[in-house]
């Protein structure tokens, strides 16, 4: 029996398969398909201090092997989450990570304080391309990544995961800034900034004009970034970007991920994360690998 359990900077999970923020709501919907306790962790939809309505539709465009989305952080706010969504999630044996986004450092800190120790970890979304007020800026400059990480870390009672944007010249530099700022773990990648135009109407398909690219199309970029970051930092890495099959998950783990998140793939197959966890376990056993951690970063160069 191979050991599938992982410990991401103190967040214990029975297996390394999580669901990616924004693709899984607060777990309720997919919870109708299977027992959420089969998952390692659930990262909830990006939360803001106050409720947000998000961007105008259309918010999604299908692209070759990918999708663009411009949801714009529609969410009921951190307080509603604590009162109405977290109790449901807590009925399951699964790590719950709150993904948070703000327009100012103060907002990030206020949310972190409100969340306290009620969740198993906090994921700092400093990379959402759909918030115009400053969301992107936070994640693309090393100095601001360092500063916001440090400030949030100071008031964070649970492990702090910093989620990185792929829309940067040098992902290592950003990752190192987060690590120096005190991040307990990193997650990557968020979406690549993209655009699609409907040639009949001559308008952008997304009413927000640009959106975030995710799905299989981005996998090679994500694997490359996980590999680069894994060589630069010492903290654990949660890898994501196009993971659809257990083979994809193995690829990310070999590149240097400690755990993986499944996002867009849920839309095609609600059982994707469960099947991936099952496939990983079978892979370990077939190859007589004692524990999932044994293959972390073991790509042979």
């Amino acid at each position: 029996m191979s050991n599938m359990a992982v410990d991401i900077a103190g967040i214990r999970m029975k297996n390394p398969v999580m669901t990616a923020s924004g693709t899984y709501g607060f777990g309720r919907e997919y919870g109708e398909y299977f027992d959420l306790s089969l998952l390692g962790g659930i990262v909830v939809k990006g939360l803001t201090l106050k409720p947000r309505e998000g961007n105008k539709p259309p918010r999604i465009a299908e692209t070759p092997a990918g999708i663009l989305n411009s949801v714009g952080l529609q969410n009921p706010g951190v307080e509603y989450f604590l009162e109405n969504e977290l109790p449901f999630l807590r009925k399951h044996d699964v790590a719950v990570i709150a993904n948070i986004a703000g327009n100012t450092e103060e907002e990030y800190c206020a949310m972190t304080e409100k969340l306290g120790a009620s969740v198993d970890g906090i994921e700092l979304n400093i990379s959402c391309p759909n918030v115009k007020e400053g969301g992107v800026a936070f994640g693309t400059r090393p100095e601001s990544v360092y500063r916001i990480t440090q400030r949030v870390k100071a008031c964070c009672k649970v492990p702090l995961i910093v989620k990185l944007s792929p829309n940067v010249t040098d992902i290592r530099e950003i990752a190192l800034s987060a690590e120096e700022g005190g991040a307990d773990a990193l997650s990557l990648i968020n979406t690549l900034l993209g655009m699609a135009i409907d040639i009949r109407t001559r308008r952008p398909i997304l009413s927000n004009i640009v959106g975030g690219l995710s799905g299989p199309a981005v996998k090679p970029v994500a694997v490359r970034m996980v590999w680069q970051v894994a060589q630069a930092v010492k903290i654990p890495i949660i890898g994501m970007g196009g993971i659809t099959t257990w083979e994809d998950a193995v690829e990310f783990i070999l590149a240097g991920a400690d755990a993986v998140s499944v996002g867009t793939a849920n839309f095609g197959n609600p059982f994707a994360p469960v099947e991936i966890a099952g496939g990983l376990k079978a892979y370990l056993e077939a190859n007589e690998i004692g524990a999932i951690g044994d293959i972390k970063g073991k790509v042979m160069i």
């Binding site: 693709t23 309505e53 849920n266 609600p270």
Partner: protein
Amino acid sequence: MVYKDCEIISNKEIAQGIYELCFVSAQIAEAAEPGQFVHVKIGKGLDPLLRRPISICKADAGQGVISLVYQVVGRGTKVLTEYGPGEVLDVMGPLGKGFPVIEGKCAVIGGGIGNAPLLELASRLRSCDAYLGFRSQGYKVEEFNACCSQVQLASDDGTTGAKGFVTALFDSLKQYDAVYTCGPKPMMRRVKEMCKRDGVKCYISVEERMGCGVGACLVCACKTQAADGSLHYSKACKDGPVFDAEEVMLDE
């Protein structure tokens, strides 16, 4: 809510560019409410990537068969036409909130491919008139005839019924206890206005681009107004696709 491969019984063109696909699923046929949809994976690979939402046109609980009527508009629906009997289709459903079935005298008003989701509803209503608008050739008209008190037709080019908009087939909707509509936005907007004017309850089925289809990803936003007048984005897939006309905004 079911997720599985369902065997296809038939897949045929029933009007120009419009196909009917029937597949076997006792569970979906049993559970389906009129106005609900299924989320269909077309092809086995990554192209196309997303599922396609298609309304349930008929649900035959006795036979355990679901009928979908779809129009070929892009790559997904194009590839769907290539499926043949005996092949299996990967389907999630029934999804969403359907039409409430009301006791009194009702009307269904459809336009284009929007007629399809109204058939199962019409067959469940005690008393129903149908106003159906087509671009050119009609489809499923006999089935509407079989379950409606009255069926009136219109088409853009006059091929089927009167030439012109379906909304020109009636001056008033006062005689109805409820009106149900599905079709192009301008048509539904007109129906909504007339119902408001005539004080008739109205239900609208909307279309938005979807991701998950189950309420988890928030891409299918549809603007709605709460009782207090505040505006929100509801999920077309979970809170809809059917909304009370008073609730849904139908703005561009």
